[in-house]
Every structure is written in structure tokens, then in C-alpha cells.
Symmetry: D2
Subunit: 276 residues, 4 copies
């Protein structure tokens, strides 16, 4: 078991009555237990908490009157990942994939896998199917992009990134997702907390469906897949923005952290990790 | 109750072993009963049938060896729509929307509502919220586009359509969906059968979430919302393609029909129709 | 005659041998005399000065070794514009336009007039041809965009701007140019110095070919067309970047000014101004 | 000397008074003599003929009343290309390029070299400068695209082509031009007649500025650079459309031919050819 202490604080200047949809709480999955969880609002507010969909995604919704609002979240996540030898993980056949997984083959806002299918097929179509092929895609993304904060915007898509060759974690994930879908591997976006991420922030990584389960990848290589605490999954970053506002508020401050409390042992290098 | 006889036949030249994902069967919803349903394959095949997600979408999956394949689907749909006076249908507040509906506020592959939000807000932001505003958006789309078969491709998005001002039913729906999302109305794509559609084909229309339920709209005005039999709903057309192939097969022939068997009566003109 | 004192200073940190192409000197045209011109480099450099094309565009090219480089430009421009009553200026017919003007009907990098032609035609196709129609296009651009520094990047095109509805001077010009071309009016980008521009900077405006000559417009309304000193014209901003570098250098400081020395008199409000 | 007989016939159904701008006549350059030229219109029309710009581009303009119009063009082109050994042709330095050549470094409508610069630099930045590098770019384009009539439209750009990996001659040329500009080689589009092109049509190829002159390349490999008769050059296909209409007319028939009359001899394989 890996035990990770996570948390974040957000401060907003709320200028008019505003609805906040927050996606900052750790997901509840079979492989991720969330303990000692505490979400506080200053000033205090009525919070509506809901779980969305079958993947453990959670949502906190609050209605806020004009004020300076502080949101604070803390929890401990206990991860019990399935850890496999990468070379033993193959790909799933479309004829066997669960229907709800097929959705993650479709193109989405930031992952135009339809446009990139031919490129993906040319570059990765002849590789041996399996975890190693998804890893090869992530390696290609890492090798060909330059991590450049500020080089992309909220409308930048995987196609843009493939052409301009720069981006941040969400862009890396979007491109890797698109290329996986392009060769027939269902893939989705995961937002979360990452141990020792520098600079500290929420992180975006990706999951590929292989051999009947979802495996984690971080194409930025900024974090270990063993130290990723998931907040939520979606088709791409559009589904898991940490905060969506209806009204008017300005983010003044954001702090995010994830610290390893207890370390796994006996795990080989670069294992295939699954926590969905 | 409206009773509609629907059906379609598809003929494919299958060149190598191919997996077909078919989305041609009518959905099962509270307001849409499907009777006398028959799906046949010639040559005969083992068919896997599944329901996907909470909205009644269905999927038929078959694995096909090289052959000439005929797929035939027939059913009778009994529609018992909620029919309301449009002027009495308001909008839902984000603070009250069910969490699973919030998903349909996110931008998607063909509906970049983030990019179009400002345009939507300028054109429709000051209109009175409610069914009439969604209708105004559909009217605007109808007035500003020219229905032009062949003017768009499988990669054409709502932004493209807004600029080029031409498209077919899926493009009309994508633009209307994007503009609805842009002013804060959850909206989604519906594929289906439409009574008396000319030329006969599967149809694409849209649904907006208003006053706690999903209401149907057809921005092309090619069909009555009372004569729409839904196959499936999704964020946009990417989710409800009538056939997705893995392998190699060519569509040789497609026939689609929808005939009204029994007519509703006592319904005023242009009612607000909900069958989700 | 309008007399305007213009100038700019640029400071660069030059990190490796770098070629600078500078487009900051006032153009030489029939209606714009340039006097008391002085361009200095510190440290001193051999400067190659050339005129490019038939429109008075000038270019200064220098090769710079690593250093901190200061570039200083000053001049006095005497403008003797043709000033007409807008309502008396019609449009030119394609059958009569000089061949070199036809080039400015073609789409260009930032002005995809082909994509926007249908939109332009719908909005402005039925307006009376002439200066008033080009003015109506500029008014529309002014009314529908919000001047927002930082909202666009070096790859933002007129289509993007039409959708997102924000931009800076170059974006306003690109959209107005595209819409003019879309209704058959040749239009081009003009870079220059603008009297009393706030905040001070190089300015981007546009020129439309009407009744046999080029007329100036500023869709941002940030400057008077009587106080515009042209640097150069091009199809769009790609042609008249104030500085293009081959090598590596960082802009540390930029100061731009334009002061009215002598004022024209007897000019009515909103005249049609031509200085090409 | 290479002597080539060229010609084309175009038949239009002209529905209303229409202005035709024709770019179908062979250019006049130092290395391309045009003899026995005949352009006829049936019914007969007053034709305005002009030369545009310094590159030998020509334009025929006619105003046509409603009718069925036949346009016929024939000529003999005598080519006296500079033929060099590719390995001896280097690149020009930006500090030495003639100012009018610098224009062909700018991005244009279909050649967004700014967007593709990083890609170009990664793939081709470390290759030895010279004719061989431009050839390597054309080879890459040939190797990675599939020639597919109908796969692109009039709005398809080099970025689109790079992603979708299909196109026709104009798309091949646009991508090669963009990649050349991306590594600092001025490049432009050439329209023309190509000996033995299959299927017969106007052809699009490209020119790169190397060692002080323009060299021809055909990234499609459908034609020999020794058998190319230029019509015109431009930044991309937008500048050299064979026919631009203002009014309404439909192309009914198009025939294009180019036959070798006299063959050059003593030329090695794959020479570097310059005819600008």
C-alpha cells in the first residue's frame, strides 16, 4: 500500500453571486481509499457533494455570495494498485471491450483522435500491441514536446500540440490520449495530485485501457505513476477542470501538495500501474 | 400516444474480419417504448446487444468474416412525450441541475462551446431564459445556415459551420448545441429516425435541458419533434455514429424509413416536446 | 499638410550572432514625405537599407554580434492626404482594378477571406457599395470586438477573432480586411505610428481600395486616420512585423511615439483619408 | 534547350455577367521563352492582358455576358534552365538574400510556416544546408503523404495536410513550402504545365531559393522538373488560381496538355533545375 497525504487551498475574490463546481476531492475507487478527508469553506457554506458517473468522480457545488472565499481540502489516500510487469500486459480487442470503455475511443474536444488517426497509425501502427505500445506513445510525446509553461491556452488541442511541439501536462496527456485512440487503444484523461510535483499544482496524466483494465501513464515524466492520487477521469481536461464558475470570481491564490507517507517496496522499475 | 414504424437496412462489402458497432436500434426510455423489434443479419451472426449509460442508448456488436453482409432492423416505437406550452418552460439553474446533466455543459469534439461562448452570449445572452431562448437559438441557426449536402466533412465543427454558414442536419445540431451551452443551457446530440424525412436517412437533432427535463429541437425544421424516434444521445455526433468499424468494410446501400402509424391529437402548434 | 514627429527606441539583449530585419522607418509615398530622419545603432553597425516593392515599404537589415543593442529611430513625416467626402467615394469594379491591386483580394495567413466570404456577404453584401460600406464593416468590427490586450497570440487569425470576439489592433485590422475582401473590396494591412495612441506602441490599421485609391481606416477607433504615419503595407501583419530575427535576441524595452507638430484645418468630421 | 508544347481549353456556362481573371498563360522569364502563343475566346471577347509583378506572372481579364464560353490557350515554351549538380548548391544567408525574396519567408494562407517552424526545425534543422536539404524535405513529404484526389478542399492548409497525411499536388507543395520556410529557406508556389502528367491537369509544384536563385522541386514526383512550364509563382495556391470569377459561371470541361517536342540531352539524373 502507498499512503499519500494530499491537499489544496484556493482563495477567490467573489464579485457577484457565483456557483462553484469543484473537482478537487480524491476519487473513490477500488484501488484508492480516501481517509481523514476534510473540506472547509471560509466563510462557511452549505456544500452539496455528489458522485458523478461510475468512475468515482466527485463534485462539490456551492453557491457563494460576494466575499473573499477560502476553500481548503485535505485527505489521506491509500493506494493499492495492481502492479504488473509491463511486458505481460497486452491490448484488449474491440470485440471484448466493455461497452462503457468504447466511449473512450471517440474523439473529444481536446483530443481529435479522428484527425490524428493516420499519423498515429503510421508512427505506432506496426508496434507490438500492449502496454509497451502505449508506453512508446508516451515516450514519443515526451521526446518531441518541450515542457513550456504559458505556451498553450485553454483552447489548445492535441493537433495544435503536435504541430507546435510545446505544452504543459494537460497538453502532453491530450496528445498521448489522441495517439492511443488513433491506434485503437481506449484512453482518457486523469486529473489528480502527484507526489513531489515541481512546481506543485494539480496534475494531468492519462490512462489507457489494456488487457481489461485501465493503466496509468505520465507522458511528462514529472511524477511517478505510483504517486498519483486521482481526482477524476474524463474524456479530456474539459471534463475535470478543478473549478468551474457561473458568475464572477477571480482566483487569488492556489496551493497544492502531495506527500508520500508510506512507501511501497519490492516494486521493480517502471511497473505497469493500475488504480482505476 | 404517437406510434411510429421505423427501420433501416444496411448492406456492406466486408473485406476482412471486421468488428461492427451498430447504433441503429431505438432507445429505451420512459417516454419511448420499443415493440415488435427485429434485427437480422444475413449471413446470420452472433450478436452482442448492450445498453450503454443511463440514457437508453443501445449498441449491437458483431464480428464479421469477409462476406456481403445485410443488416436489417425494424421496430415500432410508441412515444408518450411530455408536451408543454413552450412559454411555460423556463431554464434550470446550475445550482439545481443534476450532476449528470452538467456534463452536457462541457465543450466536445464538434461543439466547441468554449470558443463560441462569447458569440452566444452576445447574440442570445439578453433573451428571456427558457424554452423560447433555446428555440431562438435554433431559429437563428435555421436562418443563417443553408442546408447543403456535401458542404461539410466528418471533421467539420460548430465553429467551422458558424463561419461557412452551410451544413447538414448534424452541423445544424452541433451549432445549436454549442450556442445553447454557450449561454448556460445543457445541450446534447440526438440521433434517430424522423417521420417523413426527405431524403430518408438517419437524422440528427438536439436536446436542451430546461426546467428539469430534456426538450427536443430540430434546427433544420426538416422534421416534427413529435415524430422523432431516438436511437441515442451523446455529446455530439461522435458518440452516436450509426456504425463504427474496426477492420475493413464498405457501405454499399442504406435505406432508412419512419412512418407514422397513429397520430397524436389535440396538440397545439409548436409544442415543447420531451421524450428523454 | 499634417506634420508629425515620430520615433521609437528598441533595446535587445543579443545572445548570439543575429540578423535583424527592421520595419520601423516611415514609408516613402506620394502623400507622405519623410524628413530629418535618423536611425542609430548602439553599438554602431553597418546598416543595409532597402526599399521593398512598389508601396514604399522600407527595410533595414543589420547583422549583430552578441551585445546589448539599442536601436533608435526618429523622423518627421509630412502628410498631404487626399481628403474626400466619404459619401462620394464608391467602390472599384474588378474589371477596372489595377492588376497589382487584385493581389489584395486573395486570402492570406491571418485573413482567411475565403472562409469568411459567406459571412461577409450575408452581413454586408446588400449594403450600398462605397466608402460607407468599408466604414460599416469597420463599425461592425468595433461594435462586436472587445479590445483586450493579451487575448490573442501570434497565430490568431480573423476567423478566430470573429468567434472569440476579442483582440488588439492587429486583430481588428485582420477581421476588417477579411470582411472587406469577402465582399469584393481589396484590403490590406498597414503598420505605422499613430498620434496620441494609448498605450503608445506601433499601430496596425487597414486600407481599402475604393474608387481607384487606397483609403485608411482604423477599426479600433484608437487613432485618427489623419494622424497615421505609415511604415509599411502588406497582406496582413505577417508582412510588416517591426522586427524579424534570425538568431537569438530578447526585446528588453520598446518606446514608440508620434506627436502632432502641425495640424490640418478645415477638415470635416470623419473624412475619407488616403495617403498611399 | 527543352521545347514543350502546352495548352488548355476551358468551357464555362456563364449565367450572369461575369469577370474572369485567367492565369493560364505561360510566364515570361529569362529561362522560359514563350512562342506561337494563341489565346482565343468563343464567342470572341475583348481581352485585357497584363503582367503582374516582377516574376513574369501574367493575367488575362475578360468581362463575359451570359453564354457558353470556350477559352483556348496554346503556346510553345522554350526552356533553358540552369542545371547544376545538387550537391554544389548551398543555401543563401538571410543577410545576403535580396529583399524581395524575404517575402517568401513569411507565412501565408495555406502555408502556416510559423506554426510548423518547430516541427521543421526538429526534423530538418540539423541537416546540411543546401539543395539536398530542400530535397530531403520534398522526399519526406512524398514519403509521408498519400496522393488522394478528393481528400482535401479549397481551405486545406499545410498544417491540415501534415496531420491528415493525404492530399493532391497543391497540398504536397504547400507542405514542402512551409517546411522549407520553417528552416529558413524562402519557398514559393509555382503553377504550371507538366509534361506527361497523369491525369492531365494544371500542376502545382514549388520553388526554393538557394545559392542566389530559385530551384524547382516536385514533391509529388509526378513530373520531371525539366518538363515544367511555369504559369506563375505566388506565396501559395491562393495567388495563382487558374481562374477567379466575379459573377456566376460553372466550369463544364477542362483539358490540359503538355508535350515534349525536343529533349535535353547530357543531363545527369536528378539535377538541380532553375528556370525562374
Amino acid at each position: 500500500m502507498t499512503q499519500i497525504q494530499i491537499g489544496s487551498t484556493l482563495t477567490y475574490d467573489v464579485k457577484q453571486p457565483t456557483i462553484f463546481l469543484l473537482k478537487i476531492a480524491a476519487a473513490w475507487t477500488q484501488h484508492q481509499m480516501v481517509n481523514n478527508e476534510r473540506m472547509t469553506f471560509d466563510p462557511p457554506l452549505n456544500v452539496e457533494q455528489c458522485q458523478i458517473g461510475p468512475d468515482g468522480n466527485r463534485l462539490h457545488r456551492v453557491v457563494v455570495e460576494p466575499c473573499q472565499l477560502s476553500i481548503s481540502y485535505e485527505a489521506t489516500a491509500d493506494l493499492t494498485p495492481d502492479i504488473d510487469r509491463p511486458r505481460e500486459v497486452g491490448e484488449s480487442q474491440p470485440a471484448q471491450m466493455p461497452p462503457e470503455v468504447l466511449t473512450y475511443m471517440n474523439p473529444s474536444r481536446y483530443c481529435e483522435s479522428d484527425v490524428l488517426a493516420r499519423f498515429a497509425y503510421e508512427e505506432f501502427g506496426s508496434l507490438k500491441p500492449g502496454h509497451s505500445r502505449a508506453q512508446a506513445i508516451c515516450d514519443w510525446v515526451f521526446d518531441h514536446l518541450e515542457y513550456t509553461p504559458g505556451s498553450t491556452t485553454s483552447t489548445t488541442t492535441a493537433s495544435d500540440v503536435l504541430l507546435q511541439r510545446t505544452g504543459v501536462c494537460r497538453d502532453y496527456a491530450h496528445l498521448a490520449i489522441s495517439l492511443c485512440r488513433g491506434v485503437g487503444i481506449p484512453a482518457r484523461y486523469v486529473s489528480g495530485y502527484a507526489v513531489d510535483l515541481q512546481p506543485p499544482d494539480y496534475h494531468g496524466f492519462m490512462e489507457a485501457f489494456l488487457d481489461g483494465q485501465w493503466y496509468l501513464f505520465d507522458p511528462t515524466r514529472l511524477a511517478s505513476t505510483l504517486g498519483l492520487v486521482r481526482i477524476g477521469v474524463g474524456r479530456d481536461a474539459a471534463d475535470v477542470a478543478f473549478c468551474t464558475l457561473t458568475g464572477s470570481a477571480t482566483l487569488l491564490e492556489k496551493n497544492v501538495w502531495a506527500n508520500l507517507l508510506e512507501d511501497p517496496s519490492g516494486v521493480g522499475r517502471n511497473p505497469a500501474v493500475s488504480t482505476a
